[in-house]
Structure formats: structure tokens, C-alpha cells
Symmetry: D2
Subunit: 370 residues, 4 copies
Amino acid sequence: MTWAESADFFGQRGERFAENVRNYYRYCRSRDLFSTHAIVNPQTDRSKGSHQHDDAFAHLGVVEETKDGLIVRGAKMLATHGPTADELLVYPQPGIREGEERYVLAFGIPCATPGLRFICREPFDMGNQSEWDHPLGARFEEPDAVCVFNDVLIPWERVFLYGDVKMGNALFAQASIRNHTGHQTAIRGLAKCQLVTGTAIAMTRAIKSDSFLHVQEQLGELLAYLQLIEGAILMSERNAEPTGRGAVRPAYAPLQALRYHLPKMYARMVEVTQVLGAGGLLVNPMEADLRSEIGGDIARYYRGAGVDAERRTHIFKLAWDITGTQFGQRMVQYERYYAGDPVRVGAGYYLDHNVEHLLAQVERALKGSA
Amino acid sequence: MTWAESADFFGQRGERFAENVRNYYRYCRSRDLFSTHAIVNPQTDRSKGSHQHDDAFAHLGVVEETKDGLIVRGAKMLATHGPTADELLVYPQPGIREGEERYVLAFGIPCATPGLRFICREPFDMGNQSEWDHPLGARFEEPDAVCVFNDVLIPWERVFLYGDVKMGNALFAQASIRNHTGHQTAIRGLAKCQLVTGTAIAMTRAIKSDSFLHVQEQLGELLAYLQLIEGAILMSERNAEPTGRGAVRPAYAPLQALRYHLPKMYARMVEVTQVLGAGGLLVNPMEADLRSEIGGDIARYYRGAGVDAERRTHIFKLAWDITGTQFGQRMVQYERYYAGDPVRVGAGYYLDHNVEHLLAQVERALKGSA
Amino acid sequence: MTWAESADFFGQRGERFAENVRNYYRYCRSRDLFSTHAIVNPQTDRSKGSHQHDDAFAHLGVVEETKDGLIVRGAKMLATHGPTADELLVYPQPGIREGEERYVLAFGIPCATPGLRFICREPFDMGNQSEWDHPLGARFEEPDAVCVFNDVLIPWERVFLYGDVKMGNALFAQASIRNHTGHQTAIRGLAKCQLVTGTAIAMTRAIKSDSFLHVQEQLGELLAYLQLIEGAILMSERNAEPTGRGAVRPAYAPLQALRYHLPKMYARMVEVTQVLGAGGLLVNPMEADLRSEIGGDIARYYRGAGVDAERRTHIFKLAWDITGTQFGQRMVQYERYYAGDPVRVGAGYYLDHNVEHLLAQVERALKGSA
Amino acid sequence: MTWAESADFFGQRGERFAENVRNYYRYCRSRDLFSTHAIVNPQTDRSKGSHQHDDAFAHLGVVEETKDGLIVRGAKMLATHGPTADELLVYPQPGIREGEERYVLAFGIPCATPGLRFICREPFDMGNQSEWDHPLGARFEEPDAVCVFNDVLIPWERVFLYGDVKMGNALFAQASIRNHTGHQTAIRGLAKCQLVTGTAIAMTRAIKSDSFLHVQEQLGELLAYLQLIEGAILMSERNAEPTGRGAVRPAYAPLQALRYHLPKMYARMVEVTQVLGAGGLLVNPMEADLRSEIGGDIARYYRGAGVDAERRTHIFKLAWDITGTQFGQRMVQYERYYAGDPVRVGAGYYLDHNVEHLLAQVERALKGSA
């Protein structure tokens, strides 16, 4: 949506690119297509730019232009739901250097395009988990994939941006992408943080460890994070700004603040939940055990404070699924890297920030004493 | 103001208390009086309640009731600006136990009341600091004091609350005090945080250490805190709630979240500023040196990146005044303890919080898999 | 071994208990038996003591004494390798309160004793993991279990301690158990920390992200922890003390310092490894994929810096197995709680510590200025 | 001492340099001279090398060689006790780049050498503090200074190293300087850490706040750090290695681990002490007040738990002097930067470390599963 609204940005290199973006938006909208995206280069050698690798197509780049479109080769990561989505969106992120023209590419193609292959990571749910034992992992596993392009044709009408380093670096900001992805990232993050906090509370109540002062403080810490997150989202909406193209977009500054801090808060919440769950996270039997001959022993010895053994075990299962399983740890890692390397997110936030009002405050402090 | 608006709370024990509160508010307002307050008991023995000390009046309590008012004896801390204010407000904080009736007291009296003495801590500015050398400390030192009551008469018309443990514990919440003090605490904290962040930026720019990635990240971290603080304040205003007495008050939850997290953010900002200032914080000459025969050497060797030696030194002086002087460290400690023991602030936040919507979310996660 | 050496401790309640301990040691040694242990009460209701539960045998306790031995009922956790071990050792930990006599019990019995049941948690390796995909988890999974005693007879010759709160609280210190378990805990922890650190280094070298300053710093931080751990172990050996019974034991103070800090270091190492692994931890295909028709694409696009795709993937698999799988997160949790609740470990360390030399140092600082 | 022992290192550029070092050592030793040192370049513009500044002598460098010696100009920091020492030692630190030959300099000269000037920072003790009020600051203030060289002649017999980038970078390691300075840094750090820990304990005991679990945990955390520090020092001595010149030096690895971690531990200790001191750090009257007419009030209301008001106040004064005064905060900053920028200390630790045994461990983990 923000792409179509920002079509004039793409139009800088020719009106047909603007038109491509608008048409693609209408196409996806009218068919209600499910889209994934891949925007990061494979790690290969992090000390080198895309153009400095021995293999010129280690990272996705253009092999040649034809009258039908661009022939592209190489790999991009990390497309979540790659194999199950309808469409794949590829676009560049800031940080592109001179000489990397060949690798500046924005386009959208069907996932089923010939020559395009999704190589998935090992599945975390092999299909043999009970939903009771893994309340989240058995239901919500999302495959992550590397996209490999073996000389794939990107038809001209699906090319949005190509070969322009400056535009590649500007896209994220100028097409409002950072605003809109930032907003959905924050909303998604808030929902996850609420679930972790609620689970930590339910868990400690199940064994009344929430009667201890230091446990209460940690739960208070988590609850307070939720308010900070919600407040920043609210501010992004309250300070929404016109795009200059007839729409508004949520303010960038509070959203990007969450991009930096929310993954740290989330990791902290997961850690606190593990710490408060203690050994109880490592003793939970399986659903099948509850219905077996040992069910009686479980019913007697796995009880909590005012909750029966089945209920207590189920809550602890949920806590482990959030904090200790591959599903849970992937979520931690996913939030951490969804917005790119946190060090660069923080650094970029400083570099992009208008700090004049802060420096003016410093000036007043100095002047008063001059 | 919130006291007068909540006069009916005080009226629970007799209409005259409500009247006292209203009159006191009008009195202070019409004379534009400057008020300080003291609400914490002296540390003495933290393992004991007020009523368990050998000296029954180690903590401020009532000696006797007379027809003119209450005779009170004992000490309260920490009255900032005690000796320079017009009026002193004393009121109880939550956490009072049965048996401590004698110590539950809310009243307002002139600082100049006979028998009332303010014992100040050692001044941090002995009057010999140049404003240039200590841009903040030489101008904004605030004396902190313990209030000692040697059988002071509190006239009945100045007594607002007395002897009721339940009301003493409820006052903070029910009279909206926690909302309004929370709001001003947050605004004050935001202003301080902005000054520290601005100073850290000005300082690193003065020596271009902000060209390093890891320095940029730390500045980004600080800038992002500012957004979280501002967002939570905004949310407290956006979610303002009716007091039921014809006024509104800012929402408690986001403000209390700041009460817990803002002092930690502030301490972190001070730490980052010290880390980024490095050895440069420990070599600054005095204003007098700049004007002396060694002024030439200083001009040559204390230069920064694009700023002259005087400017660079002045910025680093400000940074040290915020982070390394008694003035600066008192601010850290003041924010940390303004709202009471952070452990109890966090714990209380959990205990007071309505978490039903979070537990409902847990329930949905469990139900889906039942 | 330390039990036998401390037999006189057990002998305080009768020489036969000392004899039992000595015989049991010889018995296990001569048969080379593999022993597990269970020393923590189930969580049930953490706000209550063992004797305050509705079910008097929620926690393991004595039902009656018979001429053959003690009949015990209830549960203990957390016996790692419970079902595969030969013998089970049960003993009390400090923190027992008056009134809990019935629950003070030390004994050793065969795991195959009638009426004793081990209820295992859900296995993390269901037997379908390739060793290449899970270099650790597919080989070293350790089952954790709750031990349930359904009126189990503990023969008198296997009872070591019974019904004495004071001795129950003293056992850990006076029988040198805390010294010897502390030593093995530290050695085990060091080995794990070395493996994580080595893996983090191998991983960043595989993609040359170790060319960045901030990555180098984090690797330096990890390497430095290893020295702190090794130094404390060395000191415990260097300051070994006579037990007064003809043997020596490693010094307690440095070992207990590791008990508090090592799990935090370990969790930090795991976190750093995840942060440095970034998205690369979430894209690894399975061994079978390498040998399949997509092997060529993997070979081309999963290469690292000077290492081929198979090698790079294998290293990242190891990193994920340490940090992101249930196997890896269980290790984090296991280290965190092996020595009991960290808050109480830290608190107990203070309460047990001889701090006279530190207070003397304070005295000198004060005296010099008196 | 380590300089003389490593004289052959300096001899690589001519035997006379070796001779200079040996003579200087004998000279200082026989006269029992007190030496300071300055090894860091002024901050000026941190994005530039010494040779890239507009002013070629912003950083200390050689103006010309004469038959009598080198004429040097520019500034070096941070010489503690500069003006009160006998001799000044200057030497290069690792990190010198090609092109900076002119700035590679090691020499030792009298502090009273003509043309050499020490510009001190503002004193923290203006001579008006009572020793009772400032038990440390009024007695142990150490002036820090920038050394300015206005065309100072360094006689040839006092030149130890000059103009060799490679040797400048190697000096720290090859002349065992990092070992010996690391050892004294660690010993000094341990003593400071012991004093802070002791003070935190004395302070909490004075008001019995050490009866709370979460306070106990924090004191345990601090005590445990002391063991880690002591252990690493012990290991450096236990693993002392021959220099190849007939002496031994303490092992580098554990000492450098402390260089990285000890300042963080120290800052943490200071923070914990502030947190535990709470408002009590901000209410202490002056010594003179105790002897004045308000002495009675102080005696009554500043008492602690089993300690009188004077004692309690004195302990809190010490705690504030360590944590809140310029004296105290300078110590935090001094430890933080004594060994150079912590980020680079950590990074260098990784780059210098022999990690073969760790990588071998990784190999075993991978091989077992190959």
C-alpha cells in the first residue's frame, strides 16, 4: 500500500516504474495475495561488499537486461513463509555502497516463478508434536527460507527499482516503508510482549511464587515495559505526518525507538519468565502421560497453588514453548533481527535524528553560565 | 490542587478535614506559596516498623491531642528546599501496618513554625564555584533536609488526616496524588534526560568520536529512550480519566511505568555520557586558567574537532557537572528514590495492576490447544 | 566420597548412621554404580512450607517407622538421568524450618526400588534427529525426572539422616558437600563456557564478522570470562583446607562465587552467540538437503569466508544447538538452577561470609579521618 | 624495572637505547624517585590520526633531532600526580598507524624540565573539606594533568625508543609492560573493590536493611566479585612465565581479563552502594553540625540500628565519598579508562588471544557428529 502511495518515488527513473508499482498493488489487493519478502544478503563474507566477492553472484544481482526483463542470479534471505506465500517482494536496504549498482533491485514476482527456489531451514515442528504439549509451536511454526535465483526472468512490468545506489539507499525512508513496517513491527511486538507477560504472571500465580517481593518486582518491570511500548505506538499515531502525497504515515521517531528497544525488552521478558519458571520448566510430562497409568501420580504431585496438575502443567508448557523451544527462541532471534543488525539500527537512529532541540537545550545550559 | 479536588476523601473522617484541605489550597494559591514536602521515615532500623523502635518518636508521631491541635514529635525526611520554602506538607505513603496509627499524619504548616527544625545535608556548592566551571551546580543546588519536630503544635485547621491506617494507605491512590506527582515526575525526568542526551551528543561531536559505529549506537540508544518517555507521558494524557469529582487526572499505568523505568534510563544515560567522555572528563582546567598565562597552551592543546578549546572545555565541564560532581550524582540518586524504593515501586506496580486482559490472552493461547 | 569422609557428621545421631554412609560408599565404589540425586521439593505452593500443604505428602516425607526401615511418600525433583541411573541419592538442602522434621531425610536406594517411579519430562530428542543437524542434542540429551515415592520402604541400613532440622540445615556445609559439588559444578561450567566461546569464535570467523570492532569486543568479553572462571577454580584448589578428618576440600568462597556468577556468564555467552549468529542461525537446511538435488544451490549460496557451505552450515548448526534448541536452552536453565534459586544463593553467600577483614578495611578508612 | 629487564628490546635500534633504559632504571632506583606517566594523545579530533591534524603538533611529536637530543612539541595526557612527581615517563601504546613515525616516542625526563608544563584539572578538594566529612577525598585527592611540551629537549641519554611504528606497537607486549602494569592495576582494583564492598556491608548493617532478601543478594553479588578478582590475580602468578631474559612475569591472559571486567565490576559496586544507601546518602549533616546546638537533634534522629548517630553518619559519609563525590566518581572513571578505551581493550583481547584449544573443542563437538 505504501509502495503504491509512494509511486512517484519510483517514477524518478521513469514513469513506467511508478506505473508498475501501482499496478502491482492493485493486482495483489484484488486477488488478496499473501506476500513474503527477502531483503538481506546471505552472510558469506561480512567483511566484503556484494561486489567484492569472488563469485559475482553470491548476492542477488542482475546478469543481463533483455527486452522481456531482467535476468537475475544469486541469493537473498530471509523469506519467512517463502514456500507458502503467493508473491515474493525483494527490495534494497540502506547501506549500499558505490560499485554495488548491480545489486540494487526492487521487484515483486510470484513465488512459483521458474528458476526461483526457496531453501527452508530445518522445520522446528516435525508434525509429531501435540498441540497440548506445544500450545504455540505445534500450531504457529513459520518456515524461514533463503531464496535462490537461478537466472530468473523478472518481467519489466514487475521491476520497481534497478541499478541506482542513491535511490536504493533512500527507498526505505522516502517511500514511507520504514514508517509502515515500523508500525506493524511494533504492534506485533506488543502482542508478543503481552503474551509473555501474561504467561509469566499466570505461571507464578500457579505456584504462588508471586508472593515474594523480588518476584513481584520482576513482574512489575515487565508490565511497565508494556506501557512504554504502547505509549510509543500511540505517539507515532498522534504525530502522524502527511506524506505529501495525500496520505499520512505514523511518525518515524517513536517507532524506530521501539525497533531498537523492543527486541531487548522481549528478550528480557523471555529471560525473566525462564528465571521465574525455574526447575518447573524442566519437569513437565507429556499430554499422553496425563491420560496414562501414571496420570494419578501426576494429578497428585504436579498440583499448583489452587490449580490442578493438568492446568499447572499446561501453563508451564506454554511458558516453555515461549522461552525454551526452537519455536520460542526463534521468536527472540526473529524480533532481534527483523529490523536488521541492532548495532546499525541504533547507529542509524542517531545519524538520522534531528537533534537541534536537544543541542539548543545544551546551549541554554551553557549560556546561562557564560 | 489535587488535594482540594479530593477533599471528600479527607471528609470521610469528618467534614472539617475536607474543609481544612480546601481552605489550605486556597490559602497557598492566593499567596503563591512555595511548598516542600517530607514523606519518608528516617532510616534508623529498616527491619522494624515505626511502632517497634525503642524511641517511640524516632519517626514522626502524635504525642497528644489538645484542644488547639496535635502535638507531634519525631523526624521525617527528605524535604528538598526545606529551609527556603514557605510551607511544609507531610503525608503518609502506602505500606503502613496495623499498630502504626500514631504515625499516620497528613498536615501542612509554615516552615517557620516554632519547634520545627530543618537539618540540612552538607552543601555541595560552598559558594566558591564559578558558574563557568559548574554550569549547573553553581546555579541550581537544592538543599535537602531532615525535618525535626520538637513537640510542634499542628493546629486543627491544618490537620488533614490522622490516625487511620486504612486511609493512610489509600491516600496516594484515592486522592489522585500518585497520578499528579507521577505526571510532574515524568515531565521533570524527561527534561533532565533530554539535557543529558544533548550533552552526550554535543560532547562527542566536539571531538568527533561520534564517527565511530559503537558510539553512534549508544547515542541512538539514548535518543530512543526519550521517545519512550515522551510516548508514555502522552498516553497518560490521552487516557486521562475522570476523578468522579468533576475533574480529570492523567492515567496512572503509563506514569507509574516511568516511575519504575525512567530512573534506570537516567542512570544509564549518565553512565553512557561518562563512558563517551573518557579521560577528557578528568583534564579540564578552570575558567581562571583560561584567562591566565597558560591560556595560550590551553587554547592550542584543548581544541576539539572544529571547536576551540574554550568551547570544548565548557561542554566537557557541563558533562562532568551532570555525571561526576556531587550535584550530578545527587540528581541520579534523587531520581532513583524520588518515588520510593524501586524494588517496592516495581512490586507495587504488579500488585495494583489490572492484568485481566493479559490473562485472557494466555487463556486464548491455552484454549486453542486444549 | 565426601559422604564417607564425613561419616562422623551423620554419626551424631547414632554410630549406625555413620556406618551406613561408609558402607554405602564402599558399595557404590566397588560396583562402579551410576548415581543420580533429587534434592528439591516440587513447586506446588511456594508460599507455604512442606508441612503447611493440605496434602501432608505433597513433598517427600516419612509416613511411619517400621522395624525394617522408613516408609516414605511424596515427590522430589529434579533427578537427571533418573530412569537410567543405578542409585538415587536424596538429601536435604538448607532452608528447612521448624515443624518440617518429617521432611528431613537423607538416604540412598536403587532406582529400581518398588514403589519408586520416575516421571520424565517430554524428551527433547524424539530419536529422529540427525547427529549432523544436532551435533549435541542428538547425542547428549539427558532426561530430567520427578521422583514419586508411593510408600517406599527405605531399609534402615540405607538411612543416613532423619528428622533433625538442625542437621538437615548443616549437612550441606559440614559434610563438605557444598565444596565438592561446587568444584564439579565449576569444572563442568568451565567446559561448557569454553565450548560456547569457541563456537562463537568459529562462527564469526566463518563469515568474517569478526573483522568488526564491536564483534571483537564481545568475543573478548567472553574470553575474559573464561579466565575469571579458571582463576576462581584455581584459587579453590590453592586454598584447599583440611576437613579435620584427614582429607582436604577445595575452598568454598571462590566456588560459591562461581555458583552465583557462572550461570549468568553462561547465559550471557549464549545471548552473545545468538546476537553474533544473527539471521544465519535461522536458515540452515538439513543434512539430507545437502545430499539432495538442491545440494548444488546450497554449496554455492551458503558458503562462508574461506569455508565451504557444508562446513559453515555445520558450525551454525552447532551454534543453534547450543543456543536455540530445547537442548541448548535446557542447559542455560540447568546451570541457572543447578545450585538452587540464584537470589537465595547470593543472599546465602552474604550471610555465610566472613567479612571481618572487609569491615576492618572500612574501619581504617574511617579511623584515619576521625 | 620491567623496562631495564627488557633492555634488549630497546636495543634493537642500537645498543645505546638499551643502555639508556638500564641507566635510567638504576638512576630512579638509587634515588627512590617518584614517577608519573602520560601515554594517551589529547582527544582533539578522534576521527583523525596524529599526523592528520592541521596542527602537526596537536599530539606530542618530534620537531627536530639535534646533537644533544630530540626537540619535542605537543601534548600528552593523563599524568596523575604530574606536578608532584619527580620524573615523567612517556611511551607509545598499540594502535599506531603508518605515517605516525614522528609521534612514536619513549623517554623519561624530570618533571621540572624547562619547557614542560603540567596543566591540572580543577582540584576536587579545595582544601576546605573536613576529613571527617570526606574520609577519602580530603586525604587522597590525586591531581590529573595534561603535559604540554613547548619545544622541550629530550637528551639522547633519556631517549628509549623513537620513530619506529612497529616497535611502538610491540613495546607494550614485548617489554612485559602489559604484564606488570596489569598486575598492579589488578591489585589496586582489588583493594578498591574490597573497600566498596566493605562499606556497602557496614552501611546496610547500620540500618539493618541487610535483613531483606534482595539486599542480601546484592551484597552476595559484590562479595562474589572479590573472589573472581582474587582468583584471576592468583592465576596470573601461578602461571607466571619466563621472559627469556632471566626473570619471570605474571601471565597476561588473566590480568587482561581483569582489565576488561574489573572496571565494570567496580562501577557496579558503586551503583549497588548508592542503591542500598538510598535517601540516607543525601541527608548527612557536617561534622561541625554534630558539635553545634543541633547536635542533640542529630544524636536522636540520625541513629541507626545499634549504632549511634555519629557513627551511622560517618559510615554514610564514607559511602557518599566513594560513590557520589567528584573524588568517588573520578575513581570510577579512572578505573574505566586506566587501561584505555574498554571497547578496544576487549577487541584487542580477542585479537591477541590464542584460541586454538577452544577451536579444537569445537572441532571435537563437530567431528563426533560428522
